[in-house]
C-alpha cells in the first residue's frame, strides 16, 4: 500500500514538473510566433504609411505654398502630378532632424537647418515648417508609432578641384546607388565673381556648357583665365535615361563676412539676406556685405538657364552688421514657383564669394531627414520607394517602430 502511494507521489511530481517544462517550452514558441505577427504588422503599416505620405498631396493640396500651416491632411505628392512625384516645396517645409536650428535675432525666429556645408544654405523659418509631432497627429499615429522619413538623391554628383587656377580644373564624379553613371550628360553653369572693389556690389559672369562622363562616371572641366584666388560657383546637372542628379561646388575668399539666406515666406516667395555676423552672433561690429543675386533654373531640355531678377526684387544691395537691437537685412523676391537656385555673389572688405540656396529642395538635390532617430528602438521596419522630386530622382526611406511595445496589432 505504501509502495503504491510513493509510486503515485513520484509519478505525480514528475508529471507536474514535466508539464510545467513543456508549457514553458510551448509558450516560448507561441510567444515568438506572436511577436513575428506583430512585427509583421509594423512592416505592413510601414509600407502603407509610406504610400499614404507619397501618394497624396495633403489637405489643402497646395499647402506648401501657403503661409498658414493649418493642415487637415499630410501628404508630400506634387499636386500637379500623379504617382510618386513629390512636391519640392512640401519637402522644404519639413523641419530637419539633423541640422542644428539657427536663431536669427533680426526676426527673432528660429530656422530649420538643412544646410549642406559652407555656402550651400537652406534655412526655413521654423514657424513655416511642419514639426514631427504635428505630422504624426495628421497621420493618426501619434503615441502609437514613431517614424523617420529620409529622402536622399539617388544620383550623387561630387565635384573636386584638381587644379586651382589658370586653368581651373574641376573633376565631376557621377554615381548612382550601386553603379557609376557612365556616358551621362552633364550640363553645367559656372559663375565667376567679377570684383568691383570696395563699397560696391560685385557682378558675375556666367558660362553654360555640356560635357559627358566617361566609363567610370567622371567628367573633367577646364576653365582658362580663372586664377587661383578667384571666387566661383559651379552647378551641374547630370542625366541619363531619365535619371537626374545635381552637384555644386564653390570657392570663396570671404568666409567670415557673407550673407545668409533665410526663407521667410512661401506665399510671397520672400527670402531675407542677413549678415553672417548677426546669425552667428559674433562680437564687434564688422564691415557691411554687398551682394548681387540671380536665379538659375533647370529647363525641360536639362540645360541650366539664368532667370534674371528685376531690380525691384531686391537683387542688389548691402547688409550691415546689427548694432544693439538694430538689425539690417535685405528682402529678395524669388521670381517663380519653379524649383531653381538662388545664387548670391557678395563682397566685403574686398573679399569675395558666392552662396547658393535651393528654391525647392530638388534644385540642389538636398537630402531631407524628418522625424525621430530610430537608433535604439526595439523593432524598426523600413521600406523604400523611388520617387521624382522636380525631375530629380530620389529614394525615400521610411523607418517605423511601435511605441506601444508588443501591444500593437497593426
Amino acid at each position: 500500500m505504501a509502495g503504491s502511494t510513493i509510486d503515485h507521489m513520484i509519478a505525480m511530481t514528475v508529471f507536474i514538473g514535466a508539464l510545467l517544462i513543456f508549457i514553458s517550452l510551448f509558450n516560448q514558441t507561441i510567444q515568438t510566433a506572436v511577436l513575428y505577427q506583430r512585427n509583421r504588422a509594423v512592416a505592413t503599416k510601414c509600407s502603407d504609411l509610406l504610400d499614404n505620405m507619397l501618394l497624396n498631396p495633403g489637405i489643402p493640396a497646395n499647402w506648401s505654398r501657403m503661409e498658414s500651416l493649418q493642415l487637415e491632411g499630410f501628404g508630400l505628392q506634387d499636386p500637379e502630378f500623379t504617382q510618386y512625384r513629390l512636391s519640392p516645396f512640401s519637402l522644404m517645409r519639413l523641419q530637419s532632424s539633423i541640422g542644428e536650428p539657427v536663431y536669427y535675432r533680426g526676426t527673432n525666429q528660429w530656422y530649420s537647418n538643412t544646410t549642406m556645408g559652407f555656402g550651400d544654405f537652406l534655412l526655413v523659418s521654423s514657424a513655416k515648417a511642419l514639426n514631427y509631432s504635428y505630422v504624426a497627429k495628421l497621420l493618426g499615429i501619434n503615441n502609437t508609432y514613431g517614424f523617420q522619413l529620409s529622402i536622399s538623391p539617388i544620383v550623387m554628383v561630387s565635384i573636386r578641384e584638381t587644379h586651382a587656377g589658370n586653368p581651373l580644373t574641376l573633376t565631376i564624379s557621377v554615381t548612382g546607388k550601386g553603379f557609376p553613371l557612365s556616358n551621362s550628360v552633364v550640363s553645367y553653369c559656372f559663375f565667376t565673381v567679377v570684383e568691383k572693389g570696395d563699397q560696391s556690389s560685385p557682378s558675375y559672369n556666367v558660362k553654360f556648357g555640356t560635357v559627358y562622363t566617361d566609363n567610370t562616371g567622371v567628367a573633367v572641366l577646364n576653365f582658362e583665365d580663372v586664377g587661383a584666388t578667384k571666387s566661383y560657383a559651379l552647378i551641374v546637372y547630370a542625366h541619363l535615361s531619365g535619371l537626374v542628379g545635381v552637384g555644386y561646388h564653390q570657392r570663396v575668399s570671404a568666409d567670415k563676412r557673407y550673407v545668409i539666406p533665410l526663407v521667410e515666406s512661401f506665399e510671397d516667395k520672400r527670402v531675407i539676406l542677413a549678415h553672417s555676423y548677426d546669425v552667428h552672433y559674433f562680437g564687434p561690429p564688422e564691415s557691411a556685405v554687398f551682394f548681387n543675386a540671380t536665379f538659375v533654373l533647370l529647363s525641360e531640355d536639362f540645360t541650366l538657364r539664368e532667370m534674371p531678377m528685376e531690380n525691384s526684387t531686391g537683387k542688389i544691395g548691402k547688409v550691415n552688421y546689427g548694432k544693439g537691437e538694430k538689425f539690417e537685412y535685405a528682402n529678395i523676391t524669388i521670381p517663380t514657383y519653379n524649383p531653381g537656385i538662388l545664387v548670391v555673389t557678395y563682397q566685403s572688405n574686398n573679399e569675395y564669394g558666392v552662396i547658393l540656396m535651393p528654391w525647392g529642395i530638388s534644385a540642389m538635390a538636398f537630402p531631407v531627414v524628418f522625424g525621430e532617430d530610430p537608433s535604439g528602438k526595439e523593432w524598426v521596419a523600413t521600406d523604400i520607394r523611388q520617387v521624382l522630386v522636380g525631375n530629380v530622382a530620389y529614394q525615400v526611406k521610411l523607418a517605423l517602430w511601435s511605441l506601444e511595445g508588443y501591444g500593437v496589432m497593426g
Binding site: D7, V14, F15, T32, Y36, S241, Q386
Partner: protein
C-alpha cells in the same frame, strides 16, 4: 512503479510532440518578417526611368541600340547594391486567340534572382502611336436628321443662366456636342431662328429630326415680324403663350427634340428689338413674361391640341436632392462627362403630363421622385420630343449634354490600345541577395 513508468511514457510522447511541432513550425527568417516591398520598388523604379519617356523610347529601339546600355546603367545606378534585377520587354501582339506577349529583349545583373523575387509589369506605348476616339454621328443610323441647332441669338436675353451668358453656354455646348452630330449650327439671331421655324435651312443642314438647344434658360428667343403676329406669336389678348404653342407645333412638325437647360421651360419670351421697354419683372429688359402658360401651350401644340390659355403652375420644388439615374451614371463613364451626381430641382415636371399629352419618357436623367421628374427626355407618341431639366439655377450644361447623349446613345469607336507593334510590356523582376 507502474505509475512512474506511465508518466515517463507520457513525457516521451509530449517530448515527441514538441520535437515534431518544432520541426514543422519553423519561424521565417527575419527578412520575411519585415520584407522590403520589392513590388513597389520595381514599380517606382520603372516610373522614374520613364519620367521623361526614356523607357518608352528605349524599349522600341533595336536590341543592339546604345540606349539599352544606358538603360542598364541607369537601372543599376537606381537600385541598391543588394538588389538583383531582370528587366524584360515583351512585344504585345494581337492574335486570333487573344493577346500574345513575345519576349523582345532582356537585361539582368545576375544569373538568378535568388529564392524569392517580386515582379511588376508596366505597359508602354510607342511615341508614334496616336489614340483616337471616333464618335458615331447622331442621325447616321436613322433616317436623316443629325443637325444640332444651338440658339445663340445676339438679340435675345436669358434668365436663370446667372453667371453665364447664352453665348458662353452655346460655345461650351458646341465643344461638347458637335462631334456627335453631322452638322452643328449656331443660330446667331432671332431672324435666323425664324427661318428655321419656317422650314428654311441656314447652311444646307437637314432640318427634320434636329435637336434644338435653347441656351437662354427660362426665356426663349422670339423672332420679330411673323412670329410676333396675332395667332402665331401672340393670341387675341396679346399674350405670347401663343408663340410657345407655335413652337410646340413646329417641334411636332419637324420631329425636333427641344432642349430646355434649366428652370421652368418657356417662362419668358425675349427679343431686345421687339421688347426694348419691357422687362421680366426682375429688371431684365428685352423680354416679356408668359409665365407657366407658355409651357402648357407648348405641350398642347406638341400634342396637336387646339390653343387655350392655361396659366396653371405645374412644376414642383423638391425638398430633397435628385440623383442621377443608373443609366445616366453609366453614360457618364461612357462619354467621360462627370457632372455632380445630385442636384437641386425646383422646377420638376409632373409625371402626369405623359398621359395627358401622349408622351413617353425615353431617358430618365434623374431618378423620378414621387411622381416628379427633375430631368428627362419626353418623346411624343406621334412626333417631336423635349428634354427638360427642372433644376435650379445656375445651369450645368454637362447635364444637358449627358441627357442628350444618353437618349441618342451615339457609339464611340476607340482605336485598340494593344494594337500590334504599338505597345510593349516591360516586366521588372527584383530579388534580394546577401544577409538573412
Amino acid at each position: 512503479m507502474m505509475r512512474t513508468i506511465e508518466v515517463f511514457l507520457v513525457i516521451i510522447i509530449i517530448t515527441g510532440a514538441f520535437i515534431i511541432a518544432s520541426f514543422y513550425a519553423v519561424l521565417p527568417i527575419p527578412r520575411r518578417v519585415s520584407p522590403m516591398n520589392l513590388k513597389r520598388l520595381a514599380l517606382t523604379t520603372l516610373e522614374v526611368l520613364d519620367a521623361d519617356y526614356n523607357l518608352s523610347a528605349t524599349v522600341f529601339k533595336p536590341g543592339d541600340d546604345q540606349s539599352w546600355v544606358r538603360l542598364q546603367v541607369a537601372l543599376s545606378a537606381l537600385l541598391p547594391p543588394n538588389i538583383v534585377y531582370n528587366l524584360t520587354a515583351y512585344d504585345v501582339q494581337s492574335g486570333s486567340e487573344g493577346t500574345i506577349y513575345v519576349p523582345y529583349k532582356s537585361i539582368s545583373n545576375a544569373e538568378s534572382l535568388g529564392i524569392q523575387s517580386e515582379a511588376t509589369s508596366y505597359m508602354v506605348a510607342s511615341s508614334n502611336v496616336t489614340f483616337r476616339v471616333i464618335p458615331e454621328k447622331i442621325g447616321e443610323r436613322s433616317d436623316g436628321g443629325g443637325t444640332l441647332y444651338i440658339l445663340n441669338c445676339s438679340d435675345a436675353r436669358g434668365w436663370w443662366i446667372t453667371g453665364y451668358t447664352a453665348h458662353s453656354l452655346a460655345e461650351d455646348l458646341y465643344k461638347l456636342l458637335s462631334p456627335y452630330f453631322v452638322k452643328t449650327v449656331m443660330v446667331q439671331n432671332t431672324a435666323d431662328f425664324g427661318k428655321i421655324l419656317n422650314g428654311t435651312s441656314l447652311q444646307g443642314e437637314t432640318l427634320q429630326n434636329a435637336v434644338v438647344i435653347n441656351t437662354f434658360g427660362e426665356a426663349v428667343p422670339i423672332p420679330a415680324g411673323y412670329y410676333a403676329s396675332v395667332n402665331v406669336g401672340r393670341d387675341s389678348n396679346g399674350l405670347y403663350s401663343m408663340y410657345c404653342y407655335t413652337l410646340g407645333q413646329r417641334v411636332r412638325q419637324y420631329n425636333w427634340t427641344w432642349v430646355s437647360i434649366v428652370g421652368y421651360p418657356l417662362y419668358y419670351v425675349s427679343n431686345t428689338g421687339l421688347f426694348p421697354d419691357n422687362h421680366n419683372t426682375w429688371g431684365i429688359y428685352g423680354m416679356r413674361s408668359v409665365e407657366s402658360a407658355g409651357f402648357n401651350a407648348f405641350l398642347r401644340g406638341l400634342n396637336g391640341m387646339s390653343y387655350t390659355y392655361d396659366n396653371t403652375w405645374i412644376t414642383k420644388s423638391l425638398s430633397d436632392p435628385v440623383y442621377l439615374s443608373s443609366e445616366a451614371l453609366y453614360y457618364c463613364d461612357y462619354y467621360g462627362i462627370y457632372p455632380a451626381p445630385y442636384q437641386t430641382a425646383t422646377r420638376a415636371l409632373p409625371s402626369w403630363i405623359t398621359s395627358t399629352y401622349n408622351l413617353r419618357v425615353t431617358t430618365y436623367i434623374f431618378n423620378p421622385s414621387g411622381g416628379w421628374l427633375a430631368g428627362a427626355v419626353f418623346r411624343h407618341g406621334v412626333s417631336g420630343a423635349f428634354l427638360a431639366l427642372g433644376l435650379t439655377r445656375t445651369p450645368d450644361i454637362r447635364l444637358t449634354a449627358l441627357g442628350l447623349l444618353s437618349d441618342y446613345k451615339p457609339r464611340l469607336f476607340r482605336s485598340e490600345f494593344n494594337a500590334a507593334g504599338t505597345s510593349r510590356l516591360v516586366v521588372l523582376q527584383l530579388g534580394q541577395v546577401g544577409g538573412t
